[in-house]
Amino acid sequence: MPVIAISRPETVYGGVSGGNRKLKRANGGDEEDVDGVDELEYEDADSGSDAEMRDLDDDDGDANDNDKRSGFGSSTKGSSLVTPGELITEDTMWMRGHGTFSQDEKTFSSVAGTITRVNKLLSVTPLRGRYQPVIGDHVIGRITEVGNKRWKVDIGGNQDAALLLGSVNLPGGVLRRKSESDELQMRQFLKEGDLLNAEVQALFSDGGASLHTRSLRYGKLRNGMLVQVPSSLIIRLRTQLYRLPGGVDMILGINGYIWLSKSSKVAADVSITRLEETSGLEIYSDTNEEINTSTRENIARYANCIRALAFKEVGVNETRLIAAYEASLAYASAGDLIEDEVKAILAAEALAADRSDE
């Protein structure tokens, strides 16, 4: 196995600003790569950049651009791509959602992304962007600040979410009133850096969110590690808790934070009546359980599989992840999974499995 895998870049710095020499250097002659990166990949990227160069050369200083606008009309179909300032529709029947703005009764896009329509609501989903909380989302967050009767939680959104002292389970039962002594020992429950899973309870008008952990499914996370992927790769499903082969549990936070941990003995869902018995101070414990080597290895392997899916921008779900995991078993050392070409293979396997599943 190589100590280090080095690939050469697919794209180059800004086509608009750079000198030609820079572009040629990076694009020319990619016949052989350093350590066997997928040939096809390269050629694709290459021809792309070549075309890019031609475009720039041809059009330099050419102010005539009417040919472009004609393409805009087609944007009403399917999952077509729109860019900021592009006219989406002149029809006034549509309600304007995220990613749009209106002017003279016309609707324009404000981001680069794809158009989505739900009934009469027209919105544009950006290709990239930070997580936008929705009520009911199961998310994973990290405490950034302990404040006055509330914690600030990083959930990968534009703003930190708030977790009120009143929205968590405290030792001694769920329905207990929060006392002043609770307020003083907030840092004993959750402190800066702690990870927890929670549900988005409410949204504020300024885009902020508030969370709650009033269920045994939620609370502090232990016995494992976190993997982060873009939130756009996670699909909202009925449940976000999965038990994976190999003794690993996964919580798929809608915000793209994924928690992999040792399978717990208790079933994921506990009836609400048993809540009080189980919510001692140990739910805020920082000590991990005994975790054996094979579980640790599996967790690392799953983490690499998730990273492989994210690398190819493949949405993460249970079927795909298990398929990727099974495909990864062909590599005895999970360390091989960090190479780009292996990642691509795993992602392809995952997609194939998902398709045949349907």
Partner: protein, 294 residues
């Protein structure tokens, strides 16, 4: 970034185990994949850009200037800028000082920069760390290595002996006549054919120590649970100065044993050559690519 106690203890136990389990299942001696390219800056004598798989990115530009040899004791100037941090912050100045002293202590590099009895080239190595998740030392070292490999100096056309009459050096106009600063082996891993004058830039490898285990190219999480950071330099096929411990942001710094130290030594001995060969291959390829353009 701050981690939770549970995460840190999970990580520490995994890394202390025998064999250790890294969070990305890498071997102790395995580096993360990188994306590298040399000669990206038209205004520099040599340059390189490396992107790490965790999003870290570093750009290095090398520029040479003719100076009277007597005017300066240091012929190599290294300047590190880290995006998002203030100018002259301690991380950037630590890095500058590490690379500056390492490169300046190399006699053969100084020899190569000498032009005439009165004049030499002075190298300005400017490092720009665009983003870094983990400690940038390793990334910067790889990029400087590649940038120095790609560095070319114009060919001197005036006489090399100016001890009698002072004469400002004159150079050849044709860039194709420029000579490379470093020796590039014709075939890779052909390190046996080394002569005394052979010189390649030093490579500094950063490692994290956790318990009795050593991890090359540590991730941010690994750095936090490490006892200490350790870096060892690989130069011209052997271990060279500096060997140093380094604070890499451990939450619980501890001492290390001499067994661990010798283990680190053998790890660098094992993979130093392979890493420098891989980077040389990148340069050779970039060179071929650019020459086929013309």
């Amino acid at each position: 970034m701050k981690y939770s106690p549970a995460e840190l203890s999970y990580l520490k136990e995994s890394l202390k185990a025998s064999p250790p389990i890294r969070p990305d299942a890498r071997l102790e001696t395995q580096l993360r994949p990188i994306e590298a390219i040399s000669n990206i800056l038209p205004t520099a004598n040599g340059s390189a850009r490396i992107r790490a798989s965790d999003g870290g990115e570093c750009i290095v530009g090398v520029k040479a200037k003719v100076v009277p040899t007597s005017s300066t004791s240091e012929l190599i100037n290294v300047d590190v800028e880290i995006s998002g941090l203030k100018e002259n912050n301690s991380l950037a100045s630590t890095l500058s000082s590490i690379f500056q002293s390492t490169l300046n202590s190399s006699q053969s590099l100084r020899q190569r920069l000498k032009l005439t009895s009165r004049f030499s080239f002075k190298l300005f190595i400017d490092v720009l760390v665009l983003s870094n998740q983990s400690h940038p030392l390793g990334l910067v070292s790889l990029t400087i290595y590649l940038a120095l490999l790609s560095t070319k100096l114009p060919l001197l056309t005036s006489s090399t002996d100016d001890s009698k009459a002072e004469e400002v050096p004159v150079f050849h106009d044709d860039w194709d006549q420029a000579r490379p600063l470093c020796d590039i082996p014709v075939t890779q891993s052909d390190s046996s054919k080394k002569s005394d004058s052979h010189w390649t830039p030093p490579l500094i490898l950063l490692m994290a120590v956790v318990g009795e285990n050593i991890f090359i190219d540590p991730t941010n999480a690994e750095e936090q649970v490490a006892s200490t950071g350790l870096f060892i330099s690989w130069s011209n096929g052997s271990i060279s100065a500096p060997l140093r411990t380094l604070d890499i942001g451990s939450t619980d710094p501890q001492g290390i044993s001499s067994t661990v130290l010798s283990k680190a030594y053998s790890i660098v001995e094992q993979c130093g050559q392979e890493i420098s060969d891989s980077l040389t291959a990148v340069y050779v390829q970039d060179e071929d690519a650019s020459s086929s353009d013309f």
